[in-house]
């Protein structure tokens, strides 16, 4: 574009040099931003691939194995991560979707909407460790319950809630009012309009938000450290006080010496977690794209 201005108005040396320097800096900054991603992904695939390629990785837990012995797998941690994520979603998604419906369908533009919207912002800024401490004070100190996988899920609900609520809110906003008016004109009551017209229209967007929220929650570690003890065995009950998860599996093995078999399992767990989280992210992208195509 600048070349078309020709020689008449082309900038003099100093200005052109500054422009060039900035151009270089801007490209370099993008390289700096992308380099860690490549480094992290490449090193985790390289270190973790041998561990996850064995069949036992997906079918066995670490019961009876030590860091000094090879074998065993991450089944306990994979199941734990999925289970805790699922329980979290079951609690968080209905509240988040109904909260978004409140903001858009019932309280749009009112003072109440502003208040709720503000608290959602605050909720989304709460560090995971603070959410975990809160659940600890509530369930363990005040109610006298023990640590459990459910307690960890409840802390994760606090983190998933704002993500899903915000994305649902954005999607409901995009549903044109003409659709709602058409439904009213056909005699549909408001709640049926929301359930049968608004939500289905926004469904792919809401699903995208849920999947992204799930991906975020499954990668969280801090609440798991405080609210549930790591176990090397497979436990299925959500009320159990010990449950393995991929993040805590990495954490518990982080100081294993490099020469021991346990070390490669740490990287295997890291690779499994990355595959899970990235897979969910790509799935969310796919769902969003499919939704857009349908609208057209």
């Amino acid at each position: 574009m600048s070349t078309t201005t020709g020689t008449l108005t082309s900038p003099r040396g100093g200005r052109r040099a500054v422009d060039l320097v900035v151009r270089v800096l801007v490209y370099v900054s993008a390289l700096i931003a992308i380099a860690p991603l490549v480094w992290i992904l490449v090193s985790i695939v390289a270190e973790g691939l041998p561990a996850i390629l064995s069949a036992s990785w997906w079918t066995q837990d670490l019961a009876g194995t030590t860091d000094r012995r090879a074998g065993g797998g991450a089944l306990h941690a994979i199941i734990g991560t999925l289970e805790i994520g699922l329980v979290t979603a079951v609690v968080a998604v209905p509240v988040a979707v109904m909260g978004a419906i409140f903001l858009i369908e019932y309280a749009r533009g009112t003072r109440w909407a502003r208040l709720v919207s503000f608290t959602v912002d605050i909720l989304s800024g709460i560090p995971s460790i603070v959410a975990a401490l809160f659940v600890y004070t509530l369930l363990i100190t005040l109610l006298g319950l023990g640590r459990s996988a459910v307690a960890a899920s409840l802390a994760l609900v606090l983190l998933m809630l704002p993500t899903v609520l915000r994305s649902t809110e954005e999607m409901l906003k995009l549903v044109p009012d003409s659709l709602r008016e058409a439904a009213y004109a056909l005699g549909l009551p408001k709640w049926k309009t929301v359930v049968q017209v608004v939500i289905p229209t926004a469904f792919s967007g809401i699903a995208t938000g849920v999947i992204l929220g799930l991906a975020r929650v499954m990668g969280e570690t801090a609440p798991l450290l405080i609210l549930v003890a790591y176990a090397r065995n497979l436990y299925l009950s959500p009320t159990t006080s010990n449950m393995g998860t991929l993040p805590t599996m990495i954490n518990s093995g982080r100081n294993v010496a490099e020469t021991l078999p346990g070390y490669s399992r740490v990287w295997g767990a890291a690779l499994t977690l990355i595959l899970l989280v990235m897979g969910l992210n790509l799935l969310a992208r796919g769902v969003a794209r499919a939704g857009r195509l349908k609208d057209r």
């Binding site: 500054v18 151009r23 900054s29 608290t119 959602v120 800024g125 560090p127 809160f134 801090a222 954490n251």
Partner: protein, 313 residues
């Protein structure tokens, strides 16, 4: 006519009322949750704060195992602040640079690909960042740290710290990479909405691309970038597991201002001692630290929101 209307009205009433109640209940739950977080932490922290025999705000001691409670947050506050601030100093220029590249320099197709890659960085779990920082980045930067300390060691900021590479600087760099996608995505968003006529006016007056950015894009996006940076700061202040894994704990009391020092942040202190929450008094000390972290992140996020809202109006 009138009977059918009545019929219609009753159907509408029953379903509508309970659905509306559900929506309101969900909103109330959200508001109460935030309220409860603050209240519960405060209620459980106060008894321990009363029994604290040293100044909570200015002491760097942390002895909660024995009968008398001695705990202060000065050391935690310092480490939390220095890691986050250094992280922001490193992250914001890079984030703004990438946002400018994506929105002002390359075609939209290329831009969205670069944007996608940076967004992927946000999807990486923090434990992975921690593992990477501990095992790969720290050791890789070791020689550079040694050199920096030899050349600039006379400045307290680069003075003697811990032997390992698990120091404040490594933690800051990792935090910077973690907040980068947040700041970058929001900056990209505001830069992309720079009014087209401002850009074209600047270019028509013969501005170079940089001069156009300086006079049109940056003034328009400044407050958005500030809001984004505050949100990133809030995230960095509260980041737990990556910092906990990377940062070496030190036993010396007092504050070492060096970037090569170890230490603990609010979040890493709590997470490190999660298995020791046995007596209410002891737990209360950690809850007090968590309460301070909550208040600080609350303030930072509130400021971010105010800045962002002012921009809109």
């Amino acid at each position: 006519m009138s009977t059918s209307n009545l019929h219609f009205a009753t159907i509408k009433h029953g379903g509508d009322r309970s659905f509306r109640a559900g929506a309101i209940a969900a909103a109330v739950v959200v508001v109460l949750l935030v309220l409860f977080v603050g209240v519960f932490l405060a209620v459980l922290a106060i008894p321990s704060l009363r029994r604290d025999t040293v100044s909570f705000l200015t002491s760097t001691q942390w002895n909660v195992g024995t009968g008398t409670l001695q705990f202060g947050i000065a050391g935690l506050l310092w480490t939390t602040a220095i890691t986050s601030v250094v992280a922001m100093i490193l992250a914001v220029p890079v984030a703004v640079g990438t946002a400018l590249l994506v929105t002002q320099y390359v075609p939209p197709r290329v831009g969205s690909t670069i944007g996608f890659l940076i967004d992927l960085l946000a999807a990486v779990p923090s434990i992975i960042f921690g593992l990477w920082g501990l095992k790969l980045l720290g050791p890789f930067l070791g020689p550079f740290y040694d050199w920096l300390q030899r050349v600039l060691g006379w400045i307290p900021l680069f003075g003697k710290g811990v032997e390992s590479t698990g120091n404040v600087l490594t933690a800051s760099i990792v935090l910077a990479i973690m907040v980068l996608p947040i700041v970058s995505a929001m900056s990209r968003n505001v830069f992309a909405h720079t009014p087209r006529d401002h850009i074209e006016a600047a270019l028509a007056l013969g501005a170079t691309r940089w001069e156009m950015i300086r006079t049109a894009v940056i003034p328009y996006g400044r407050s958005g970038v500030i809001a984004a940076s505050m949100l990133g700061l809030g995230r960095a202040l509260g980041e737990t597991i990556a910092v906990m894994i990377i940062l070496s704990q030190t036993t010396t009391e007092g504050i070492n201002v060096s970037l090569f020092a170890g230490g603990e942040t609010f979040a890493s202190k709590i997470a490190n001692n999660a298995q020791e929450f046995d007596s209410p008094a002891k737990t209360g000390a950690y809850i007090a630290a968590g309460l301070v972290l909550f208040v600080v992140t609350f303030a930072v996020n509130a400021v971010a929101r105010v800045v962002a809202e002012r921009r809109v109006s």
